[in-house]
């Protein structure tokens, strides 16, 4: 006789509709993760109360924690569904609890719209300006320590964990959030990107920019990719301070 596991899932039929909870029971299999649970539920969408319902909607892609699409709040903590192993989750609590991320509009059920993070990347010009794809010769040398830091920053997968745990990111504030600050820092450290550093800093100095961070430092603890977010915030704090002084007194 195989073991049954229980999941309580927050459902929401459309963007503006009210969320409600449903509980499902599925058979336990070895090595299960949250995505495979959702697949099993989709195969037989019947609640514990015996009610026939629609399959739960969710988003995923890579299934190896590099795309960030499957991010949701699992047992009260935001993380990726694909690497959330059921056996570990059951050690946390008896019934697995799934909710969509809280700082993004819900498209349906566990599927959220993360486009605000892509808008934020545009706002801070998180790219390198190139006007040709032709060979320009060797680029400048980069110190290994700088390259290492840039590598860490470049691991961001735009998943939204840091946004979801940030108390300053919410529907009553226009704070851009830690993810874009991390990426602005990344591109400001690139030899070519540094040429437009001022534009990135300016974009982060207005309302909703770097100053709206409250230093709760939740972001860095929640980031599954260990992106050095608080370092990026401190560095951007310093760079904007220097930039402001230069703007007021030098330029």
């Amino acid at each position: 006789m195989s073991k049954l596991i229980r999941l309580t899932i927050q459902r929401q039929d459309a963007r503006e509709s009210h969320p409600y909870a449903q509980t499902f029971e599925i058979e336990h299999k070895p090595q299960m993760n949250v995505i495979s649970c959702l697949q099993d539920i989709a195969a037989r969408p019947v609640t514990v109360a015996g009610e026939q319902t629609t399959p739960v909607a969710w988003d995923c892609n890579c299934l190896e924690e590099v795309c960030g699409a499957c991010t949701m709040v699992i047992n009260g903590r935001v993380r990726q569904a694909c690497t959330a192993l059921v056996d570990n989750l059951l050690k946390e609590q008896a019934t697995i609890d799934l909710k969509p991320m809280s700082k993004f509009p819900v498209v349906r059920d566990l599927f959220v719209d993360r486009s605000r993070m892509f808008a934020a990347l545009k706002k801070v010009r998180a790219w390198i300006d190139v006007d040709t794809y032709g060979y320009l010769g060797e680029g400048p040398k980069v110190e290994p320590s700088v390259a290492d830091r840039r590598y860490e920053l470049s691991c961001c997968m735009t998943c939204g964990c840091c946004m979801d745990v940030c108390p300053q990111v919410n529907d009553g504030s226009d704070f851009i959030g830690p993810q874009a600050i991390g990426q602005a820092a990344l591109f400001n450290m690139h030899p070519t990107g540094a040429m437009s550093a001022d534009q990135r800093l300016e974009a982060l100095m207005g309302p909703g920019g770097i100053t709206d961070c409250g230093n709760a430092q939740n972001c860095v603890k929640a980031c599954p990719k260990e992106v050095p977010l608080t370092w990026a915030i401190g560095k951007t704090g310093r760079d904007t301070t220097v930039h402001a002084i230069r703007r007021w007194f030098v330029k």
Binding site: V165, Q168, P207, T211, G214, Q217, N218, G234, G237, T241
Partner: protein, 237 residues
């Protein structure tokens, strides 16, 4: 009317935020240190305390100095701080990390400090406005600052309650200032890496202990000093 003001604040968002951060350290934090040091002299002895308070009162144009040097900065820091506090959604119940507690406490202590400072101003600094004629009478008698302050702790409320109010207000203000030093250093980009933040946190905690020591010892001294019965009787007719 609100439109141009709003846009001015938006245009100068960075400046205003940085000024808010700066004001918390200079002048407010510096004032807090000096103020608590002066108070601690009450513990050393009433004469020392009286002497120091007299010196302070001799500052020319005291009210103007206070207004520009401390009241306006506090008013700005408090008003803008309230706006900032309202922009956050506390989630420490869900994510109980230490730094998140510090963030939360920074907001809670800010609220406590605002209420406490208003009460404290009415209670001591502007007691001659709120204390009524009895207060004027006591002052006219040439009562020393120490006795007057000690008597203040039995005016309006029983002393035990005053001590509680002051201990809470003092602790909240000291926490808000010392944790504020840590966030100030992050905000301005002085401490960028984790280790430097840890070091500043330790230094700020040490300062908090010293300031609390100053504050609490002065409270103890004022509470246990020879209670000026006559003054108290006048204040509590």
């Amino acid at each position: 009317m609100t439109q141009p003001v709003e846009t001015w604040f938006q245009k100068n968002h960075f400046l205003v935020r940085r000024l808010h951060s700066l004001a918390g350290i200079v002048p407010i934090g510096v004032f807090l240190c000096i103020h608590l040091y002066t108070n601690s002299l009450a513990f050393v002895g009433p004469e020392k305390f009286n002497e120091h308070v007299k010196q302070l009162h001799e500052i020319p144009n005291l009210l103007v100095v206070e207004l520009i040097g401390i009241f306006l900065p506090i008013a700005f820091h408090a008003w803008y701080g309230i706006l900032i506090a309202q922009s956050g959604r506390i989630n420490v119940a869900q994510y109980g990390w230490l730094d998140n507690w510090r963030y939360t406490l920074q907001r809670v202590t800010g609220w406590i400090a605002i209420v406490f400072i208003l009460l404290h101003l009415a209670h001591f600094r502007f007691a001659h406005w709120f204390g009524g004629p009895a207060y004027q009478e006591v002052v006219a008698k040439g009562t020393t600052p120490f006795d007057l302050t000690a008597a203040g702790f039995i005016m309006w409320l029983p002393m035990g309650l005053w001590m509680l109010v002051y201990a809470v207000g003092l602790t909240a203000s000291v926490y808000h200032f010392c944790n504020g030093i840590v966030t100030f250093c992050i905000t301005w980009g002085i401490t960028v890496n984790d280790l430097s933040r840890k070091r500043v946190s330790i230094a700020a905690a040490a300062l908090a202990i010293v300031l609390l020591g100053f504050g609490l010892s002065s409270l103890a001294a004022l509470a246990s000093g020879p209670a000026p019965k006559a003054t108290a009787a006048l204040l509590n007719p």
